[in-house]
Amino acid sequence: MTDSPIIKLTAAEIAARIASGALTAVEVTEAHLARIEAVDEKVHAFLHIDREGALAQARAVDEKRERGETLGPLAGVPLALKDIFTTAGIPTTVGSKILEGWIPPYDATLTRRLKEADVVILGKTNMDEFAMGSSTENSAYGPTGNPWDLTRIPGGSGGGSSAALASYEAPLAIGTDTGGSIRQPAAVTGTVGVKPTYGAVSRYGMVAFSSSLDQGGPCARTVLDAALLHEVIAGHDPLDSTSIDAPVPPVVEAARNGSVEGMRVGVVRQFRGEGYQAGVVQRFDESVRLLKELGAEIVELDCPSFDLALSAYYLIAPSECSSNLARFDGLRYGLRVGDDGTRSAEDVTSLTREEGFGDEVKRRIMLGTYALSSGYYDAYYGSAQKVRTLIKQDFERAFEQVDVIVSPTTPTTAFPIGERADDPMAMYLADLCTIPTNLAGNAAMSLPCGLAPEDGLPVGLQIIAPAMKDERLYRVGAAVEAAFVARWGHPLLEEAPSL
């Protein structure tokens, strides 16, 4: 079967063609559903496809247009939603067996905003269980393949969302980023991913992993598409006490006016060294030269506490997870195991959690229980919080000198599925460059900056901005993207093998 040319369009192009009547939302949705049917058996980006719901949403957009009503900036554009956001009437599993078949009775705020903006939700995407992982291998429903090479990981935990974009199954997707789960998958699949400022996008209805780090955000194939989605999902939510009550930064305007002319761009010494693949460093150095050619001033920075970020993260995130996941007790929803009339609630809970959780989730629950236990609390969790302060201070000092910081998004390109499965510390290194931003709460983006010469796989460039200055990511990102696409003669994804 020949794919419809519609699947190669960007979200901005699709929205414009639907608004002008050149395409109907139903045609666009059908083209993507057909693509999913053709390739998702190989890619496994989706856990659940809502064919009927998507077509009904699309028909509603077409009727709205026929009635002459004003359409939103992304009306009729299909989207792949990470299975961590609740969707009323549609299964939400968080990639876990403990929620297999769970159908939430309510929508997350993000889900509701997408629906109100007339975005067409195609289905729910695969993810590492409870968003814990960097490879999507921890999904209870099997791994997702990287469309560049199906034997390699698509990143994690949002591997399903990034793979859906890179395989042209959807032009837009949603991810969540606790330690890099939007940016790392974007980097290894040659797509764009943004972790907005902490608190910019509501966490209401997003299954909590580590509440002080988790942040939902946009995934797309272009910087402008990410900005359009950012504006739809961001903004204050009274249902989330950690939601920022301030106007959304002008990200779309910034994405339409890309420029680095006169900007000061920081390069942090701690974001290179041992463990970085040669081809990744090469593409990053080229990106820095490009920024200079485009008129930016490059400033070398020292952020010594970043060396401790990974350690602090692997104490703070498990501690918060051990507390958040206590709600999965088999009593009110989800799986229940061993309730034979003789066992106590405590025993049933223990048997349910043993059966329902996978290895990585158990590992982190126990790590968190240990770090929070009496006698170890000060040495581990308490010290990790002090490191967090030092990292925030490093960022504050850096942003006195520069407007944005750049780094490689990941130290290596996509590794083979299974390679790091039994070595948690090796897996954790995938988030080396992304974690400091989650600890400090500021904003960051990953966008493609070329292919590593040694393996022909995508490399990501990370741009980091101060909290509430998300528009800087888009201004710089759009300039870099335009320059790279002009140099390559086409978007990077066009070099991916056809599926």
């Binding site: 950690t242 106590s344 629950i365 126990m366 240990y370 236990s373 581990y380 967090r388 030092l390 909290a467």
Partner: protein
């Protein structure tokens, strides 16, 4: 810092309500010990005069007016319950028989 023993993992599993199998105890004891060994470096800053940061935003308690508003119906709230009886969640026994 002390290493994590198999017995300690068994104790942690009980605290965390995880009925781990014997082979899991061995597996996790080695891995948790490796991870703790790698992340224990954070303690190097512990005695310095650094205030802890628990959250990236300064948080204040948010209150709303105490008024009756629409919410989930009991059918909706119970729709995902593993067991229910008389419009309530049915749970295993909490207290032992003795």
């Amino acid at each position: 810092m002390p290493g994590i023993t198999r017995e300690e993992v068994a104790h942690l599993a009980r605290l965390a309500r995880l009925e781990l199998k014997a082979e899991e105890l061995d597996h996790f004891a080695g891995q948790l010990d490796d991870i703790i060994g790698a992340v224990a470096r954070v303690a190097e800053v512990a005695d310095r005069d650094v205030p802890p940061t628990s959250h990236p935003l300064p948080l204040t308690n948010v209150m709303r007016a105490d008024e009756v508003r629409p919410s989930l119906t009991s059918e909706q709230a119970l729709s995902c319950a593993p067991a229910q009886e008389q419009q309530r969640f049915k749970v295993p026994q909490i207290l032992g028989e003795d």
